[in-house]
Symmetry: C2
Subunit: 410 residues, 2 copies
């Protein structure tokens, strides 16, 4: 159960003696809390009768207009009527799956991909198929092949789910050429694309790439979020969808929750209207740049021979692969003994792959903690290498699958 | 499409010249907004780093403990571990339906019942069957019969959905004897009960009745909400469920939204901890008592012979039935011409019944507006009676079903 693994990890990560490279929690401590306190006070005292009332299932119209402005920073031209505000982009993903997926339908995703997307697709009994990635993003030949084979077998592929920027968990950004190729392949096979872009504005170097949405013609649903650029605790995400799809999503949202929190929407409305939020994103970016550099620098200096890892241009995550015969999932309890935590790679695949890999996140710990975390992680890996060299790789993988101790055991 | 009817009505209700007896919006203007403004400010400035962060899918543990305290006012003894915090009780209903209902499964409800419950059950392709009510609540002989017939036909009944207190839309409260009988029937047929109780503490006279949950033995899921006793804009509802069910609901919630808004949960946490919220409920109750009395008084004084209506002991709604041959749905556009709005009864049935009925709500307009609204409504009804008496009942029902003009047409 991948969800329970992640929950167990959150339990570990909260212990003060552990350096957690596991969670994907943004560093909200970088927000000016006193100013935000004044802002929320004004929302209640000045607009309380509206802010504390029910709202519409599609979301507040003013906020939807602001979201369109926000998306222009990603090069997207959109109208408020095509936007639906959701409880984080997670709810958008859930509503899309609910509207599109019948049991047994194929959903294609990158390999690896976002944990909770896997859970959501599985909850609606999708047949989740992974498509490999390289440094430029998803392998489009493999994508083409998967779509061709599905068509030959008479199977329905409902959509291809992708996180093109600073992918969670791989940290890979799809190149501009690859994006064009994805669009070409999906258009040729007439398959919908779900583009999940929560990290897009958290870019630390390299050039911004055009969204798939902006290259599409009604065949892309775009998911955005303020969870990483403002706060996940407000749960403001959205879907931008062609109007026929959007109408179905609004009905599903009404069934799912009647309406999102008007209060939170009014808070975000005022934030986007009155706050220097572009500057706030720059503040986040310089902080996260430093943390990413701390992680990459420490990996570069300390990691044993045979380990490889990705070099993200933004976002929160680095994907590391261990030397042959070392099992990241089996190692986790021993890493926790070394007082460091990460997410084993297996959680990011629907098919049991990923034992040799792990996701390392640099968003939450300080640069000093990150360096100390890598030091401890290297200690754990070196211990595994010693075990492997002494007893052979079988020894390191005796506790497999659901038998593996959860990371919150001592 | 019942949802679109309700949406259209909200559009009408917002026009200032219309007295709306349609919407079920609580009167949040009765809240002390300045004090609440200070409260939310303190949440952000004092606890912002936690309040603006991700939370758990089950909901904040402190809030779940407070919810257990809150439910003691309804006579419920519960532990926080059995509570899951949801985006209004609507989300709880959605998650329950998602977890339990396979396409074609029977769901039993009272007749009439809550509009969006019908939509949610329909979204998961339930076979919705209504069970009639009288002044003491659901007809338990009919319930028994429906369950017996389903069993004979080899059909699965997933649950019986009921709103025992001040039912939406009927305004009826299930008597204590009837509750015992419902428990007996459902236990005998081994069928789960979903008890929806958003209005329970908004009682204006009569004696509190024991909840079904408190008479159950793991066969009742209880839904609660602060939408009516505090604010719907915060979207804080919950389910109280036996632990095996609760675990499934938490997984479904994680898939549906990752976690609810931590911010809103912290706001409500502080509200329940620091605010004289029992006094606030008394304030609401004396305001709503006056409004209910204004509605019942006006109906009593003005309604034409042949009209009947319920006399709620609490909640927001009165259910009125028109004289023979008068169609509430067909009348609505003419009522809007009289500058009054209501919800036609058809929206509260899955099977097209309810043409002779309407839901009148007294929560939002002032007593003066309510009296004026009834005056206008009576004008509309008298017009229909004249039409009927002149041309016969067929004339009043020429615009039927989906051909009926939506209420936001002029």
């Amino acid at each position: 159960m991948v969800a329970s693994e992640v929950r167990a990890l959150f339990a570990v990560a909260s212990r003060p003696e552990i350096v957690s490279l596991a969670g994907g929690m943004p560093n909200v401590a970088a927000l000016p809390l006193d100013q935000l306190g004044d802002l929320v006070k004004d929302v209640v005292s000045e607009e309380g009768t509206a802010a504390l009332q029910y709202g519409s299932a599609q979301g507040d119209p003013v906020l939807r207009e602001q979201i369109c402005d926000y998306m222009t920073l990603e090069g997207i031209q959109a109208v408020p009527d095509d936007v639906i505000v959701t409880v984080g982009s997670q709810q958008a993903l859930d509503l899309i799956t609910r509207v599109f997926v019948d049991p047994g339908d194929i959903v294609l995703t990158e390999a690896p991909t976002y944990v909770t997307a896997i859970n959501t697709f599985a909850a609606f009994q999708a047949d989740i198929r992974h498509v490999g990635m390289d440094d430029e993003g998803v392998d489009t030949d493999e994508l083409d092949h998967a779509l061709t084979e599905a068509a030959k077998a008479g199977r329905t592929v409902k959509f291809f789910y992708t996180i093109p920027n600073f992918q969670n968990p791989a940290g890979i950004t799809m190149s501009a050429e690859r994006r064009e190729r994805v669009m070409e392949v999906c258009r040729r096979h007439d398959v919908l694309i779900v583009e999940d872009n929560p990290y897009g504005l958290l870019r630390y170097d390299g050039e911004q790439k055009p969204t798939l949405y902006s290259q599409g013609d009604g065949n892309v649903i775009y998911l955005g979020s303020l969870s990483k650029t403002l706060s996940p605790g407000l749960r403001i995400g959205w879907a931008l969808a062609p109007s026929a799809v959007r109408a179905k999503l609004v009905l599903a949202a009404e069934s799912a929750m009647l309406s999102h929190s008007t209060f939170n929407q009014f808070v975000v409305r005022r934030y986007l209207e009155t706050f220097p939020w572009r500057e706030q994103i720059k503040t986040f970016n310089s902080m996260y740049t430093e943390r990413r550099d701390a992680l990459l620098g420490a990996l570069n200096t300390m990691m044993p021979v045979g380990c490889t890892w990705t070099r993200p241009e933004g976002g929160f995550f680095v994907w590391a692969t261990l030397p042959e015969g070392i099992d990241a999932k089996a190692m986790l309890p021993r890493a926790v003994n070394h007082r460091v935590a990460y997410v084993p790679g297996t959680g990011f695949f629907a098919d049991g792959r990923g034992r040799d890999s792990m996701r390392l996140s640099f968003c939450y710990p300080t640069p000093e903690q990150i360096r100390e975390g890598v030091r401890r992680l290297v200690g754990a890996i070196e211990g595994e290498i010693d075990l492997r060299d002494t007893f052979g790789p079988a020894m390191a993988t005796t506790t497999e699958g659901s038998q593996a101790p959860t990371p919150d055991l001592p």
